[in-house]
Amino acid sequence: MIRATDSAKPLRLALLLVLWLVAAIPARATLTIEISGGAALQIPIAIAPFQGEEAFDERVPAIIAADLARSGQFKIVSTAGINPLPQTPAEVRIGEWKARGASSLVIGNIVRQPGGRLDVQFRLLDTVKADPQAPGGVTQLAGFSLPTQPSQLRLTAHQIADIIYEKLTGEPGVFATRIAYVTKRGNLHELQVADADGANAQTVFRSREPIMSPAWSPDGSRLAYVAFEAKKPVIYIQELATARRTVLANFKGSNSAPAWSPDGSQLAIVLTKDGSSQIYAINADGSGLKRLTRSDAIDTEPSWSPDGRYILFTSDRGGSPQIYRMPAYGGEAVRLTFQGSYNVTPRYSPDGKSFVFIQREGGRFRLAIQDIASGQVQVLTDGGLDESPSFAPNGRLILYATEQRGRGQLAAVSSDGRVKQKLSTEAGDVREPAWGPLLKSRP
């Protein structure tokens, strides 16, 4: 309850509303993720309890195991019944682990340091064949000590899972990344950011008007998005660390579909100020507007190639919405999709060789992926109302929005269609997911 003098009331109320709108508030709903399906070949790995882990609320080995299992590329081998559990390489009896089918084993410990700091140490060991030259006869594939604090243990666990994942698959892991998405409960709309495993959801913006199209800056520090509080769609950029918000584009008519260039200096956006929906480029500070498409049709949903040379987009210039590609400076567009009468929402893969999109077939909307060089298309989902695909930054998984039991929910599918994930929240609709970038380091 506010106590305010009459003269200060309007100002206080305005201030409270502003704070309420932009404060990073822990979100009420949490995301839980369940997985089905799996990669053709799953790597069997065992993760032993870490010495000293019981002292902390966040259990590092369990988080690592959940991350690896959720990727669909690993099979977690149970450590039950192995007694005693090894704590150093010398204590590992390879035969025991091989008998359970594990090809790798992770052991570790958490060491307290002065001043509340911790060191989380782990070793990834090969349990396929013994190496007489190695200490204890066990080959170490990786071993690190990560300085951290109790409040950062989840992040450290994700970083360890990334190291293990990269060592065993050759690809970067995405366990330490974050996702953004929009929730709607009644007329309360929230833009939230959570860890890739659904934990630590925070509200970064809330409004009684809709929110759409969140897009991460390539360095992960900002989100561009569309909000309607001005009774029309306007593009904002919000800095996550400070919650500072600026208007990127509020031209006459509608402003939408922000897409960052790979170097973060520009965005492609869609404006209607000159007639139909057209694609423009604009500097991230709002200066330097340049028109890129010139048609009388709808041109929308731009997506930059990772090398910054091309933009994919949706256009109905040919009579039905299809996917086109043009040079990033504008210029002649080439049509890429030819199956069916509705292909929209193209998103470049991180390696630039393919794109995921939404295809309507028989009245149902589903995800498909097209190889750019060959034009081959593979259908990835069989949902009826799938939309808003977003690639993980290692190109392995695609996050998207779907409908489950009458509610909007998020799901993920691997780029080969074999691994499926369902992400559920407790209440309301979830939509418009955006997977954040890989970060070199996190504060």
Binding site: K231, I298, T345, S388, G428
Partner: protein, 176 residues
């Protein structure tokens, strides 16, 4: 009393309760009851009241066609159906007689398909209404055509009975 109202207002804001139907704000155009097919009602059945001693705002007078604010469209279409022309003509006339009045023409689409593409479809519909008003003499400075795409549905079921209510343009006067 003032403090209590303020407190109630803030509690309502902060509660963000999970109601099943979207609460309509004052800022919206008045909601019309459209359980039946939209085509059944229109045709300018209301006649404007002559200016009288009463100070009723014609924009809000339920007996006045100006209180009707929505134009409905067929699937995949931005063509304005003949039954809505009297409504558009009435608003165009009001705007030419009140040169300081301004409107947002808010286009909408049903939920099927991509949100951004639907934003563009809604825009097309709003633009169609704007073009017609411009031909009828309304100054471009008095109108802004925008889109809410599928984000502001009037009805949320997943079939044509609701989709038809969402394929529409709403006329919203500045300051409402």
């Amino acid at each position: 009393m003032k403090r209590l109202t303020l407190g109630v207002f803030l509690v309502a804001l902060l509660a963000g309760c999970a109601s099943t139907e979207p609460a309509k704000e004052q800022a919206r155009a008045p909601v019309e009851d459209r359980a039946a097919q939209p085509a059944a009602k229109a045709e300018g059945s209301a006649t404007p009241l002559a200016p009288a001693a009463s100070q009723v705002n014609p924009l809000r007078d339920p007996n006045n066609i100006l209180s009707k604010r929505s134009i409905y469209f067929d699937y995949d279409s931005d063509a304005i159906k003949p039954e809505y022309k009297p409504l558009i003509e009435a608003h165009a006339k009001y705007l030419t007689e009140h040169r300081s009045a301004k409107v947002f023409l808010q286009g909408n689409a049903d939920e099927r398909g991509s949100r951004e593409y639907n934003l563009a479809l809604g825009q097309r519909r709003a633009d169609a209404v704007r073009k017609m008003m411009s031909v009828l003499g309304v100054d471009e400075k008095q109108m802004e055509s925008v889109s809410f795409g599928e984000e502001n549905p009037r009805a949320t079921c997943h079939d044509e009975s609701c989709w038809s209510q969402n394929r529409r343009v709403d006329i919203v006067y500045e300051g409402e």
